[in-house]
């Protein structure tokens, strides 16, 4: 990479080899580029207020928040809210639901885009490939509300098309929407339908980096398509796979709860309630600010620990990591 002008100037300044002129150079660089601070100011203020501001508010997890006294003046209670959460009878249900839904989602949803991308990569650019890509990308743009609406409408016990098909085949349809046993499958499969196609894009980008000479050489040596996928294509995308896997595992306690919230009802609650929906309900609907902040904090701390741990393991074993 060619050295940018500014660096060259700085190096010239440093060659006088006095700390004074180095500081002088730095000050010159800052003052000459002062307008760049103007450009970044809106983003800086935004993150400071709307991301670091709430981090300051986390302290209410250790306090009994009283709106009249504000965040700073509410009395400290230590770990009371956490202990109450750990001892509550729904604690293990919430943990189990959150973990099983995201593991289920990871196991079913993670490999499919990879398979689909490898398949796309095998066929020539033509109308068929373009059609399949355009169609499979499309559901990505459907909103969660419409998605939940589609699920509810298709699985409606009296009029849903899926129920009609199952009954037409001669089976009795389960009560998908109200039977806790079906909630997770319904949730995961609808997610697979919506996001598998879109998920291929990133792998296709990685696959486009494969050196065509590798394939030519392998063909000369008589390697079949299958062999070339195993020995050339897959190794090429392993770094991408690792990074995405780390990110996925790192958010394992953060299932996309907006769809769950829409599909939840009193009858399937025992298998649909996850930490995030619980935080929403107790916090905003039942106004237990401190308690639900504690639950949310527990969730983010576990996620952060998982992310760091998985990243560490990945760095040791595969030499690929986020940092």
């Amino acid at each position: 990479m060619p050295k940018p002008m500014a660096d060259t100037v700085k190096i010239d300044g440093v060659s006088n080899s006095s700390a004074h002129s180095r500081r002088h150079g730095l000050r010159k660089r800052i003052s000459r580029n002062w307008e760049l601070y103007l450009l970044i100011a809106p983003a800086f203020l935004y993150f400071l207020i709307f991301h670091y501001g709430p981090m300051y508010g986390i302290q209410i997890a250790f306090k009994n928040f009283m709106p009249a006294r504000g965040i700073t003046d509410s009395p400290w209670v230590g770990f009371d809210h956490f202990i109450r959460f750990f001892n509550s009878y729904y604690f293990w249900d919430l943990i189990r639901n959150t973990l099983t839904i995201s593991l289920y989602q990871l196991i079913v949803g993670f490999p499919l885009p990879i398979l689909l991308a490898l398949a796309f990569n095998e066929i020539k650019n033509g109308w068929f490939k373009r059609t399949v890509q355009t169609v499979t990308y499309a559901p990505h743009f459907i909103s969660v509300v419409v998605m939940a609406g589609i699920i509810v409408t298709f699985l409606s016990p009296s009029t849903g098309i899926i129920i009609n098909i199952i009954e037409w085949l001669g089976f009795t349809a389960p009560a998908f929407l109200t039977d806790p046993a079906w909630f997770k499958t319904m949730y995961v499969l609808s997610g697979v339908w919506q996001s598998t196609g879109w998920g291929t894009i990133i792998y296709l980008a990685a696959l486009s980096a494969v050196d065509p000479q590798l394939h030519e050489a392998a063909i000369m040596d008589g390697a079949s398509r299958w062999r070339r996928i195993i020995h050339i294509n897959i190794p090429t995308i392993i770094p991408t796979i690792t990074i995405l896997l780390i990110l996925n595992v790192g958010s394992i306690l953060g299932v996309g709860f907006e769809k769950i919230l829409l599909l939840q009802n009193p009858l399937n609650m025992s298998s649909s309630d996850v930490i995030d929906t619980f935080v929403y309900r107790t916090g905003l609907l039942n106004v237990q600010y401190s308690f639900s902040t504690a639950v949310g904090l527990f969730n983010s701390v576990i996620n952060a620990i998982l992310l760091i741990a998985v990243n560490q393991i990945a760095r040791k074993t595969t030499e690929n990591s986020l940092w």
Binding site: N33, A43, F50, G53, I123, V145, I165, L284, T293
Partner: protein
């Protein structure tokens, strides 16, 4: 080269399976989409009984007519357009300048700013502290509660920064400086005109996000007149259906008859409303697919 050597029998078989796999994927994704389109212009009797399974049957446009008559949907539509336009503008005004500043290697402090932004990707205050902050700022029940808390995304800033780093030649900036051009002038007169692809990509990503979002409205808005389209849809598509299948809570004032009547209207509306609410995105999507894909690709470059 590749074409000279004839494909072996196993290779052709393998390719056959690949086509089959893709064809199955195509059908699985396409069928529900076609079904919704057909159902929206079919008579509800056929749809509900399962007689309409692919092509429209008993064609009627009553569902669409009901949508056009529905005041709440129109109001939601207008609100969503307003929130999407203003929100996306705010997003761009925050994201693009910040990304440009961060792309400059001679910007003292860029490591600090980048670090500060990145931390928020992995750790945040959570729902309640954010809610309390928005309340404290007096934004509850205003459009700004849907716009300001999501004014920028770290991911998009990184994507835009990567774009600037890889497409704006450093020589351009040096030449401009030598000619006495200030950084702001450089940004507005030279960088922005060269950056229409990334601005388009960002506008699309943010715009679709605003169009589809409902959760912030659910949390921060309590005046129904301000509800965006997705909140209206939630009422029609999700809550109604839950009520009509005997779960959820019926308010005591409502008689069973009134509820049934509402459920019937909802049944007629739902497919049409799905189409109409998704139409803007579906209509522009084929033309913009290239940009969307480009955006994801730029984002996938590690940086």
């Amino acid at each position: 080269m590749a074409a000279v050597i004839k494909e072996s029998k196993t290779d052709r078989m393998f390719l056959g399976f690949t086509y089959l796999f893709l064809a199955i994927a195509l059908i699985c994704v396409l069928y529900p989409l076609l079904y919704i389109v057909s159902a929206s212009i079919s008579s509800p009797t056929y749809v509900n009984s399962g007689e309409m399974w692919l092509l429209p049957k008993g064609i009627t446009f009553e569902g669409y007519q009901r949508v056009f008559e529905n005041q709440a949907i129109w109001r939601g539509y207008a609100n969503t357009i307003l929130y999407t336009v203003v929100g996306t503008l705010v997003n761009l005004l925050v994201t693009i300048p910040a990304a440009y500043a961060l792309s400059r290697s001679d910007f003292v402090g860029r490591g600090f700013f980048m670090g500060m932004f990145l931390v928020t990707m992995f750790f945040g205050g959570g729902l309640i502290p954010t809610y309390l902050l928005v309340k404290e700022l007096g934004l509850i029940n205003s459009m700004w509660a849907l716009i300001l808390p999501g004014a920028a995304s770290v991911w998009n800033i990184i994507v835009a920064r990567t774009f600037f780093q890889s497409t704006i030649p450093k020589e351009l900036q040096e030449a401009a400086h030598i000619d006495g051009c200030t950084n702001l002038r450089l940004f507005w007169k030279i960088v922005i005109p060269l950056s229409s692809p990334i601005i388009a990509v960002m506008a699309l990503f943010y715009g679709v996000g605003h169009w589809n979002s409902y959760f912030n409205a659910l949390v921060y808005l309590n005046d129904e007149a301000k509800y965006p389209l997705q909140m209206v849809l939630r009422q029609i598509l999700v809550l109604q259906e839950m009520n009509s299948s005997g779960i959820g809570t019926a308010t005591s004032g409502e008689t069973a008859m009134a509820m049934n009547a509402r459920a019937d209207v909802a049944a007629l509306l739902k497919y049409a409303v799905i189409i109409i609410s998704t139409l803007p995105i579906i209509a522009i999507y084929p033309f913009l697919q290239r940009y969307f894909v480009q955006g994801v690709m730029i984002g996938s470059v590690k940086g």
